[in-house]
Symmetry: C2
DNA sequence: AGAACAACTATACCTACGTTTGTAATGCGC
DNA sequence: GCGCATTACAAACGTAGGTATAGTTGTTCT
């Protein structure tokens, strides 16, 4: 029951989101088809499902995307699905649509991080605006995640001792203090520190410190900030 | 039309929010009174108003607080008030309550950063939970703001030249590069750099770098991170 | 005019950082 | 057993960072 778009795109206001995929989970066939057409008409790729289960079973491609989700669904409800996705660490931005919603539902959805919550009938442009906002959010999140992942993989190329030295460097200790802390000679710390700089591709200490910040690396801080 | 509580507090589940003020903007007198009683009964201080204008005209004390706001109000509506507060850079967390709300209202409120959006009738505990969440959010925001403000005031004790040196140190340049950049002798940079460390109360370079991060100080970065 | 302060530099000296070269023990996988 | 990564240290050397002392110039306040 998937309607995969042909990967054509026709520009228009969705240009910034070109290559983005819009997932649709909507049990009503005619609604699903009209949503699909709407998104394809502005050059977005579409993958549509009839239920939450179907989407969970399919393998989600790792590209910028968002999810247009009906609240009322057979099986798992839209709100339950949102919770499930969060539990599974799937952070796709969600736009809810519904014909029979109420305020507590919309509040729960928004508290859960939804981008928008639209009630039928809505104007096409409203939904498109929400989708553009959602894909933009996803793009930014992916960018940030990528940065952290890159740093993390660099960090993991460090030997345990090198990682330990990096942590203590990040807290602002001098080489001799690090040596004392780890029961090493100062010269050894210097050498490991050099390895850290090379392997982390840090051009300066300032650079390295910022890396530890984005990695969330800090030991017992003898600093205040 | 203000009902100020006596500063008694009776513990209970609101203990973590002791000393917090709950602002109420609600035109219905009996509702306002019952809300006031509810919050006072758990030891919260209360300041109540009958309209948005009244609250805007009063001087808001600089303490942890939140706002319980009726959506339907004479004059400025609750949602408009939320927008106004944001424009005025007043970041008090808002809990909306309403008897005649709809989904678009609640979505707009939540998009605007509201903590919750409750429909009458609601259980007392629901509102209290929301108030506790809201004051906690305010406490954290204030804490973060305070940190930045402290650093900013330290930074402003630096002479223009010292500030410039600090910026370039933060980007990871060596003293001689900084000197070239600013048209100074290296020795001068060293001395200003020493001043920077003392005046900013930084115990190490790592410490100083982190300060520049929370201050958002960076020049043209010849670094990547 | 004189005091006070900022910006700026020089000489001298010391400490901290970093790299190179070389040595050596340990443990792991094939 | 052989190769390899890891851990560890030493000697030697060069660079970078940091401070103290002392002095110049210019502005501003009184």
């Amino acid at each position: 029951m998937n309607e995969r778009s042909n990967p054509q795109r026709e520009g228009s206001s969705a240009e910034a989101s070109a290559n983005a995929i819009v997932f649709i989970v909507e049990d009503d066939v005619s609604m699903r088809r009209s949503l699909t057409n709407l998104f394809q008409s502005v050059g977005l790729d579409v993958v549509a499902f009839g239920s939450a289960r179907e989407m969970l079973q399919s393998k989600l491609p790792d590209v910028v995307s968002c999810l247009v989700l009906d609240v009322r669904l057979p099986g798992l409800s839209g709100l339950e699905f949102q919770t499930e996705l969060a539990k599974s660490n799937i952070h796709i931005p969600i736009i809810f649509i519904t014909g029979h919603g109420d305020i507590p539902m919309s509040v729960r959805a928004m508290k859960g991080g939804a981008v928008d919550f639209l009630t039928k009938p809505f104007r096409d442009q409203e939904l498109l605006d929400a989708v553009i906002a959602a894909t933009e959010r996803d793009r930014k999140r992916r960018e940030a995640d990528q940065t952290v992942a890159n740093l993390k993989s660099l960090f993991e190329t460090l030997s345990p001792r090198e990682q330990a030295v990096m942590k203590l460097v990040a807290t602002g200790l001098m080489n001799k203090q690090i040596a004392a802390e780890l029961g090493l000679a100062e010269i050894t710390v210097k050498i490991y520190r050099g390895h850290v700089m090379k392997k982390m591709r840090a051009r300066s200490l300032a650079d390295l410190i910022r890396m530890t910040e984005t990695l969330g690396i800090r030991s017992n801080r003898p600093e205040q900030t």
